[in-house]
Symmetry: C2
Subunit: 118 residues, 2 copies
């Protein structure tokens, strides 16, 4: 399955998903799929990569180990970041009333598929 | 219900919880309850308050609005932060295999109770 197909599958299986992308730890988007054309995954990827790195550094400093997932719930969107490899993570933007359990499951499944492609 | 009682209730109702605290946005712990004596909630509160603030600034910058919750999943612990008022948030540390849905529910419930006390 190609990178684009793996991402399309997440969007297809989760109606509340606005967009999903594979992002390098440098903040640059490798591949993206959107339902909501308004969502700028380039900007979100760039901004959230910094937050993901900060969370990782912080987690190591308090001896909780490497961070595999980060989720922020805001007024208009929930953002889930999930580490795929040392160099890449996925970012998923969903509506705040979305099914977070399903979102996390789909991201985990896509991440396992993508691991072999990246 | 006192601050301590609200926190005790979270710990009591969630076996996987290692500790829970009410923390000011300045990173200072107001009240804490622990099951796992090893967990240093003072340090965690101080460190994660910075991450919570960064997430809020970032979320506003991409027009997602204020962040009410942040969750990090790491190798040895999951940390959930939940905004209670403009000045205070709660931090809950649970085992990575813990029931995250229940943890989020208990934190939401405790947050509603605490809102009137803070």
């Amino acid at each position: 399955m190609s990178l684009a197909e793996s991402l399309q599958r997440v969007i297809r299986d989760l109606e509340e998903a606005g967009g999903v992308a594979i992002v390098g730890m440098d903040g640059i988007v490798v591949e993206e799929q959107k339902r909501d054309a308004q969502i700028d995954l380039q900007v979100i990827g760039a901004e959230f990569s910094g937050l993901f790195k900060s969370a990782g550094t912080l987690s190591e400093s308090v001896e909780f180990g490497a961070v595999s997932e980060l989720m922020t719930t805001a007024e208009r969107s929930v953002v889930i970041l999930r580490r795929v490899t040392a160099e890449y993570f996925m970012v998923l933007v969903i509506r705040p009333d979305g099914n977070l359990g399903k979102a996390r499951f789909l991201l985990r499944r896509a991440g396992s598929q993508l691991k072999t492609e990246l």
